[in-house]
Symmetry: C2
Subunit: 466 residues, 2 copies
């Protein structure tokens, strides 16, 4: 079997070998051999290798290699660099080189770069741009972050409904257009209002003399420039389209968002969800290693601080039961277990609900169904855990059966309450338009800690008469 | 601003209205009006509405509506149902209807359905399938779950390298082909070995009399049938392709995987990661509400049980310090805070590292960089938290300064150790080929609880001489 699973691993090994060779050539100052070795790779891989060169030998060396690449390759490579590196490149190359890259980049990639550059550099670049183009760029720079407008490209193919398939194909051949933006064409009326879509597939398959207006699809999905990227990515997932058109408030087509940009959005949104579930506030869309120490502190300290305040309450609960505790000190032994199991039970429920809401399987309106389900689950789980605990406390720890009863009763109650709260809190958050992901992990642990201690101490006081 | 953000919300409202109207018509038994209302929706939406009808009025009603849809719409709708519902439909419709759907479904969708049907039903369907097709289906049914083979479709367009662009376009027009599978064409030699790829875009834009062999791309990315779907989705994210070809061990093209299937894979993999981080083992790819109570118990109890055993150790630690604790009972007050902050700190670090490894920004080889970063972060965070705590313990709780010192010193040490362990454990898991996502949330909390208590009690014993 082993030799069968070769392709992905082999690819990686080959890339690593190549990178090693390039490093060696670089150390021997054989720059043009280096370049030839690079050119045998895919542009995405070249970008990756250049980043490694930068990390290993400094940015200067990486930029030097970048500059001796053939011009069109260099644009492709540039488009595949991380934004930080793009800015570095722009800072270190000559104006004509910058101009060439800006002219050749896909429009949406160019906007992404401009958004990250310091204002004076943007002005310098825009100065040399023709007026009409400059106006277009300025419009795009103004779209809100995380909106459909900020993701779209204005490079789409527009057709007229009175054209024939042949005319449409000739038009496409003439305007050319890059990669993924060509596969869906947009039919506009005279006011640039979107009236239909035509896939390139349909154009290629249909007879040459059919009229576009007769064969176009008019039940297309579209979004508005201000719509949020997360909702946009839901539409892509739901309908499986290659591109979705973006219109302004008058229904005029202003751009399209293509699926490859959505893959990035999905990754960003997943990261945000996971971070929130892990008690991290906002890593500024930066990679772990790129974010500064103070950036990390800013992303983590506020949550820890907030949660610590919640523990002041937990501490207060313990203080008010201090006398009871000191008379039966063995109760302290089981505190971490009860708090921990409560937190874990709540986290399990909240994780499943948060994920269910993210994928659209669970809605806040399902609350009653969810509570009923969690109730049954938690009773079964709670009883199982309690039985084992009872045996352990009585026979291994040698505690009186009454103490074991207190712990086990508390355990069942804690699991039930934690699971129900764990399921309901994210739903409640969604109802009041908060991110449900905030209601998991650390947050859940703090809340269940309080509940667990209250439950435990109350049951202990009652049953043990302390 | 408000009226601007209309499209996505308006769409949803419209769908809901429509669903309500359909429900009303259904209650009035106006089935054919119902059908017309349905037909004004997109197939994806019809599938969704039918599922709602099933939930609300029972499967029988939903199937009845399904059966009065026009035949080609019904196939599209069928393809968009969840697998559970597809099986229900198959069980309730007649053999000719089944045959029609199976004939018209995209090959990969059909395989997905067959995989979920009981064996006797599959046999019944295959009986009526032509022999060659049957053999092809059987081959596909044998690919491992979660492999590239299980995701691919054999419906791709193959070209010959000696053809002209015109011949290629004529060929495409002749074979037709569905949706997304047409946009990349594959050039095969006589032995069906893949030798190059041609995008439909390039075919449409190039001159008619160019030869395919001269203009095809031969530096394409491909995978093997047994390659894992997670690695495959990484390739899609990295290179942004619409489709990736799948070859067998002899390099023969056997199918292609298209980007729309990858969106589902990404969602599955994200769910798996989040569940593992939340202490849930395996929800069998089922939605929260569809998974039975016992299924939920099976997914949650083992983790809770395992973690509970870890609390036996935590309990043991407390027991061995019981005398010290009973002499300074106020130490118990700060236990939950120290354990909680330790757990939260560890979870923050592990979440960031797990996500960083998932997106490829962090590698186990970065361990030293990571530890150095976490060390600086945790000292700053620990000191900030301690300062606030000191003031609170001395001035609000009125405890002796020495107790405050014990708590604060423990706090700093716990945060530092928890953050470093939180960062290193997922990396260690990856090195020994375990899923890093297991090393977060509940798991992290259990480990840091032990560390926190040991640290706290040791410092207390030393400084307070108890």
């Amino acid at each position: 079997m082993e030799h069968l699973e070769y392709t992905i691993e082999e690819r990686e090994n080959e890339l690593e070998e190549r990178q090693k060779r390039i490093f060696e050539l670089l150390e021997d100052k054989k720059y043009f051999q280096c370049r030839d070795e690079l050119l045998s790779c895919n542009e995405v891989d070249i970008a990756e290798i250049l980043q490694e060169v930068g990390d290993e030998y400094g940015t200067q060396k990486a930029i030097m290699l970048f500059r001796i690449l053939p011009k069109d390759t260099s644009v492709e490579v540039f488009a595949n660099l991380d934004v930080d590196e793009q800015v570095e490149v722009i800072n270190l190359i000559t104006d004509p080189e910058i101009q060439y890259i800006m002219d050749e980049l896909d429009f949406d990639d160019m906007i992404d770069v401009l958004e990250e550059l310091p204002a004076n550099l943007v002005d310098k670049i825009l100065e040399k741009t023709p007026k009409a183009e400059r106006r277009r760029i300025n419009t795009f720079l103004k779209y809100k972050e995380y909106s459909a407008g900020s993701l779209m490209t204005p490079d789409y193919i527009n057709l007229r409904k009175e054209w024939t398939v042949r005319q449409a194909l000739d038009h496409i051949k003439e305007v050319g257009m890059d990669s993924e933006t060509i596969y869906t064409c947009y039919v506009l009326d005279v006011g640039r209002k979107l009236i239909g879509i035509m896939s390139l597939r349909a154009l290629v398959i249909q007879d040459d003399d059919l009229i576009i207006g007769d064969i176009m699809r008019s039940d297309y999905i579209y979004v508005h420039v201000d719509d949020d990227q997360e909702e946009l990515s839901e539409l892509f997932k739901k309908y499986g389209y290659l591109a979705i058109p973006v219109v302004d408030s008058e229904g005029r087509l202003v751009g399209i968002v293509t699926f490859d940009d959505i893959l990035d959005v999905i990754e960003e949104e997943t990261t945000e969800d996971m971070e929130r579930m892990g008690g991290v506030i906002d890593s500024e869309d930066k990679d772990y290693l790129d974010l500064s120490v103070m950036g990390h502190v800013k992303a983590r300290l506020p949550w820890l601080m907030l949660l610590m305040f919640s523990y002041f309450i937990t501490g207060g609960i313990i203080q008010s039961f201090e006398n009871a505790l000191s008379s039966v000190i063995c109760l302290v032994t089981y505190m971490p277990m009860l708090m921990g199991t409560g937190g874990n039970s709540g986290t399990q429920a909240s994780t499943l609900i948060i994920r269910g809401m993210a994928t659209g399987d669970v809605e806040p309106s399902d609350a009653i169904l969810v509570v009923w389900k969690e109730l049954r689950i938690s009773i079964i789980v709670g009883v199982c855990l309690s039985l084992i605990n009872y045996l352990r406390i009585v026979f291994m720890d040698g505690q009186p059966p009454m103490v074991a009863t207190v712990v086990c009763l508390s355990m069942i109650l804690i699991v039930v309450v934690a699971k129900i709260i764990g399921a309901l809190l994210p739903m409640g958050a969604k109802l009041i338009k908060l991110d449900p992901a905030l209601m998991s992990g650390p947050m859940m642990a703090s809340i269940t800690d309080m509940i667990s201690l209250m439950t435990y101490f109350t049951i202990a006081k009652t049953l043990l008469n302390i």
